[in-house]
Structures are given as C-alpha cells and as structure tokens.
Amino acid sequence: MSILEKYNAVFATVFNVNQTVLSDEFNSKSVENWDSITQLSLVTAMEDEFDIMMDTEDILGFNSYAVGKEIVSKYGVTI
C-alpha cells in the first residue's frame, strides 16, 4: 500500500466514509462528525499508522485532509 493509500485508509476508517469523498475540501467545517474527539482519534490513528508522535500544535492544527498531509510530512511521511 502506498503512503497516500495508507493516509486515505486512516481517514476512511476514522470518519467511516468511502475514500472517494476525500478531497482538499474534507475538513472540520465541512464534515459533520469532525469534532475534537474524532480529531484526536484521527491523530492517534495517523501516529500508529506511520509510527510518529505529533507535537501538540500539530494535533490541534490537524483539521483538514489537506493540512494533515503537510503535518505528517514534517515527521518524514511524504505523500
């Protein structure tokens, strides 16, 4: 599985959606069930998938599909 496929799979699992709905418009404002608990689950799942540990500012800032790619890249996960 490519890194992008793994990244998408995490989103699909956490938000219980089909990967086809994932886009740069997929964010905390547009997604109904994206609350602080889901965001924490998303971050935890990303950390587990890529074996990284994010800083607090990145946990707080992980509020969209697009921004998330930039954040994980800081930890050496290039999509």
């Binding site: 935890t44 950390e47 587990d48 540990m53 800083d55 607090t56």
Partner: protein
C-alpha cells in the same frame, strides 16, 4: 536476586533519579525486576550507578539524560523508550525542586521556575506517556506530591502550592484516563531523610520532629515501597488517590 518480583518486565520511567527518593525508587524497581529508565539532567551522572544497579538485580537500568522542562527532550525520551522497549508501563514523576521561605520573601522568578519544574513539566510527561499508554490500554502514573500540598505549611507557601497542584492534576488525569485503564495516583510523603532535607533539617527544622507521630523521618526506601505498590498489579483498581506516606505527620 529476589524471588517473586512484582514488577518483573514492567517498563518504567523514573524522573529525578540522581539522588534521594528518585534513586531509591529506581533501586527498588530494579530489585522487583522492572526494566527501568532513570532520568537525570547531568550527562553521565548515572552511568556507573545504573550499570551496577542493573547487574546486581539482573535487569536493565538505562540512564536517560534530559531536562524535564524541555518539551522536545521529554518527547524524545518517551519515543526512545517506546522504540527500545515497545511500551511504557509505569511513569514516576519524581523530579522536582523545593524552596523554603516565608510569604514576604517569595522570589517570583524562583516561584515561576518551581511551577515549571513541579507542575508544568509533570503535566507534559503525563500527556506524553499517556499517549503511549492509551494505545496499550494499560499504565500507571505516579506523581510525587507532598504532605504540605495536602495540609499546607508555614514557610513554604510556594512549594506547597505546586504540590497542591500535583494533587488536583493527579485527580483530573485519573478521571480522564480511567477509561483507557491508565491509573494515576500521587504519593504525599511527609518529611523524608534525604541528604537534601537533612542539610536544612539540622539547621531549621529539628523542632518539627514533634510534628511526626512516629517521631522519626521517613527513609527514601519507604517512599519507594509505596511507588512499588502503585506501579504493580497489586493496585490495579486504585486510581485518583493521594497516598500519604508520612508516619502520622501533622503541621
């Protein structure tokens, strides 16, 4: 080597392990078979002792040199433990600083530093360790408070305030982490006969012996024994508690 070691194979991080209570905790944990990571600030200061402690108890004692007020260094240390040992079972937040002064003499820069060391750094380590423990669905966090945080004391308002904060953060973390099977407790020692206390005790606090029901100071090992209990599976249903180890002291 002891039989029936109750911390056998448990991965434990103990902060402030260079002397006194922290050192005693590492020694007791190693004696009980734990895989111990011992923290101190000064590079190389634990090298010889940790090696001897590990050999004596046929376990692993790894020194980890970092300043607990440095968030990046704390994270690096937690990541190292996770990567080397695969998990963290017990965190003992023992490192701290103490000052003695009457209210009008409080130096606010020193007070801020003390909150940084005794409270903020502790929260940071609880946050980092609990992120690993949440995934494991298991963990025990032990925070070092003090009897003065419970009772208050004349001449140590600043220190007592930090130790009171340790109690409230312990109770709150226990509530937040209980669903992940992570226990968070604090120990509130009375007066402990560490080198640090004995230095000031002889000069300023000898009369305080009358405040201690048992009429003597605690030994660091007696505090370490309480840490063994809270870190072990003997206390799997104990969380959010402040365990006084004070020989019936009253200020």
């Amino acid at each position: 080597m002891k039989d029936n070691r109750i911390l056998e194979g448990k991965v434990c991080l103990v902060t402030g392990a260079n002397r006194g209570i922290g050192k005693a905790i590492v020694e007791r944990y190693a004696e009980e078979g734990a895989i111990v990571y011992a923290n101190a600030r000064k590079e190389a200061s634990l090298d010889e002792w940790s090696k001897a402690c590990a050999e004596k108890n046929q376990t692993t004692v790894t020194p980890l040199y970092f300043d607990i007020t440095n968030g990046a260094a704390c994270k690096e240390a937690i990541m190292k433990i996770k990567s080397d040992s695969g998990r963290i079972d017990v965190l003992v937040n023992n490192a701290g600083m103490v000052t003695y002064e009457m209210l009008p003499m409080i130096d606010f820069n020193q007070l801020r530093t003390m909150f940084e060391v005794n409270v903020i750094a502790m929260i940071q380590l609880v946050q980092l360790a609990s992120r690993i423990m949440t995934r494991q669905k298991f963990g025990s966090i032990i925070n070092m408070s003090s009897i003065v945080g419970v009772q208050g004391v004349k001449g140590q308002l600043g220190y007592a305030a930090t130790k009171g904060a340790v109690i409230s953060l312990t109770k709150s973390a226990a509530k937040e982490l209980a669903e992940h099977n992570i226990r968070v407790n604090a120990i509130a020692p009375g007066m402990v006969g560490t080198e640090r206390l004995i230095e000031v005790f002889e000069k300023s606090f000898k009369d305080k012996l009358s405040n201690i029901g048992m009429g003597r100071l605690a030994t660091p090992e007696e505090i370490a024994d309480a840490c063994v209990y809270l870190g072990s599976d003997l206390s799997t249903y104990v969380t959010g508690q402040i365990l006084g180890v004070d020989g019936s002291t009253s200020f």
